[in-house]
């Protein structure tokens, strides 16, 4: 196993030292936002809080939460803690509903960002000798440029392929002997498929390491990517509001993602009550940016559901880990009163080789009853002229879904390559319910 650590001082710090550092940084942060961000000053005044009340990291629970709605309400730059002249870069989220959210970075923020990505890449085993293709979208999305500068900072070679031209991407992977790939897990599978279509396999490439993120994925998906691309696949976690990719990352142990805790402080809360839960309980991840100066956020509610894992990891890092994201509290569907996560559907589909790893969930309400339809692509070589075996296949998937989800779903077999493919975040749910 790869034992390299980019920043041993910070990644392997004793817990006491870390907590001391976090407390000092939090105090500075609160001072910064109180004096420079009217939004936070007002919130703190409402709670009768002064910066001096926040002395140690444990005082964090006194502070207010920040939500995605707060970011939208303060569009475009109301949450900046610094004048625009200090901001050197802006990213924006897609914003499917309402305004996009804008994030501004100072040059110091960008230094920190590339540092944490270099930590992640090192944890995966990437070295200066590697060529890494960045297949995240370049532009307003944080994935492309974020990963790009991290690879450069590490000293490896970056190939800024971005998204879109898969044929050229494959050609460059082959011709340059590219060894690393950073993209969404769904795009990695799409690449594997495109490779197969060209009559090529993992043996024609030199890829060895993949850094995948920007959307939730499952252990089954990891196995499929690893097998089809002949690589070791690792999770990279991040969100644009906090920084972008690199907030947390897996190590060679593939047992939870390490949070860059000297920069981001994690808490787990009950998403309904906001109550902070003890370490080890499942809930919504809340992050505070301890060192950001452009657009620092206090206790940002990520909506990602996970569990914190305390204890030193076998890799030697002391930073706390979290388990695979179980879903998002806002992705979670409640169908006939039962919680349904798209990732559960995905794991069932991935276990059946007759289907492509792509699906769409359609939720509707007919005669006051919720309906769940799972659309899944048939793989071309699983098609049979025998109607009986086709119906059996559909029934088998329906039964497995029922046992995993605890509710029945209508399975709809769709033609190969007919579901929308995304090269960024996958959209896998259509909720047609109109609630009065």
């Amino acid at each position: 196993m790869n034992n390299e650590i980019w920043n041993r001082n910070k990644e392997c710090m004793s817990r006491d030292e870390l907590s001391d550092l976090q407390g000092k940084r939090l105090h500075k942060l609160v001072d910064l936002v109180y004096h420079n961000t009217p939004f936070y000053r007002h919130k703190m005044q409402e709670l009768d809080l002064l910066p001096a009340d926040i002395r140690t990291i444990d005082d964090i629970v006194k502070l207010p939460f920040t939500t995605k709605a707060d970011l939208r309400d303060n569009y475009p730059v109301g949450l900046l803690a610094t004048p625009m002249s200090e901001i050197v870069r802006i990213h924006a989220s897609s914003g499917t509903t309402g305004s996009p959210t804008i994030v501004g970075y100072t040059s110091r923020d960008l230094e920190i960002w590339k540092e944490i990505i270099a930590r992640a890449l090192t944890a995966y085993g990437v070295t200066r000798g590697d060529i890494v293709s960045v297949g995240y979208g370049y532009g307003l999305f944080t994935g492309g440029l974020g990963a790009h500068y991290g690879v450069e900072h590490l000293g490896a070679t970056v190939l800024p392929t971005s998204t879109g031209n898969t044929e050229k991407h494959i050609r460059l992977l082959r011709d340059l002997g590219v060894t690393g790939l950073a993209c969404t897990p769904s795009y990695a599978l799409y690449l594997a498929e495109a490779l197969h279509k060209q009559g090529l396999s993992a043996d024609d490439l030199k890829l060895r390491i993949g850094a995948f993120g920007a959307e939730p994925w499952t252990e089954n998906m990891r196995h499929e990517i690893e097998e089809r691309l002949g690589i070791q696949a690792y999770n990279i976690y991040g969100l644009s509001e906090i920084m972008g990719p690199g907030v947390a990352y897996e190590c060679g142990c593939k047992d939870g993602s390490h949070i860059a805790e000297d920069h981001f402080y994690p808490e787990i809360i009950n998403p309904e009550t906001g109550e902070v839960l003890p370490v080890g309980q499942e809930g919504e991840l809340v992050l505070t940016t301890l060192t950001k100066t452009g657009m620092p956020l206090l206790r940002y509610r990520t909506k990602d559901l996970t569990t914190l894992m305390p204890g030193t990891c076998a890799c030697g890092r002391t930073s706390i880990r979290f388990t695979r994201i179980l879903g998002r509290s806002d992705d979670m569907l409640i169908v006939r009163g039962i919680n349904v996560f798209p990732s559960q559907v995905e794991s069932v589909i991935l276990e059946m080789p007759e289907f492509a790893p792509r699906y769409m969930l359609v939720v509707d309400r007919k005669n006051n009853l919720d309906t769940l339809e799972v659309q899944v692509e048939l793989r071309p070589d699983s098609f049979s002229d025998d109607m009986g075996s086709m119906l059996d296949l559909r029934r088998k998937l329906g039964e497995r879904l029922k046992s995993v989800l605890s509710i029945s779903a209508e399975v709809k077999l769709v033609e190969p390559n007919s579901l929308p493919r995304s090269e960024g975040k996958s959209t896998r749910v259509i909720d047609k319910r109109v609630l009065a």
Binding site: P380, D385, L413, P416
Partner: protein
């Protein structure tokens, strides 16, 4: 043994999908001699007998259709009352079951496409009865 290669295509139930197949084949000069559709609520299997089956497979795969080839038997019989019954009676007598079939008649002749439960047995009994079994190029 004379069988014919039938082309089966997986289709979702959505508007214009059958025409997408017909159009793709038409654009490549491939003629459809016969076809039938087996459908469920959400998908169907379109079964076709075409003028150039190998080319048709290539054309449809390039358009991302899932296709598969199946051996079927095509019989030609007089287009008169009772002709089909005589053939089917013979097959039933020998425990040859029919998974599906479709037919088309023109002038004095009728053609019947059969997917039997047992291809060899089916051909054996039809040949013994001197049935007119068509090969690929005879259509």
């Amino acid at each position: 043994m004379e069988t014919i290669k039938q082309l089966s295509v997986f289709l979702e139930n959505k508007g214009g999908r059958i025409n997408d197949v017909a159009k793709a084949l038409g654009e490549h000069g491939i003629n459809m001699h016969a076809f039938s559709m087996a459908e469920t609520t959400d998908f169907g299997i379109l079964r076709l007998i075409v003028s150039d089956v190998e080319q048709a497979v290539g054309v449809l795969r390039a358009e991302n259709f899932a296709v598969v080839l199946t051996d079927v038997v095509c019989i030609s019989c007089p287009n008169v009352a009772g002709a089909l019954s005589a053939i089917l009676e013979r097959l039933a007598e020998h425990q040859v079951f029919i998974e599906y079939m479709y037919a088309f008649a023109q002038g004095e002749k009728a053609h019947i496409v059969i997917r039997p439960s047992n291809l060899e047995e089916c051909l054996k009994w039809l040949e013994e009865d001197d049935c007119d079994i068509l090969a690929d190029k005879q259509l």
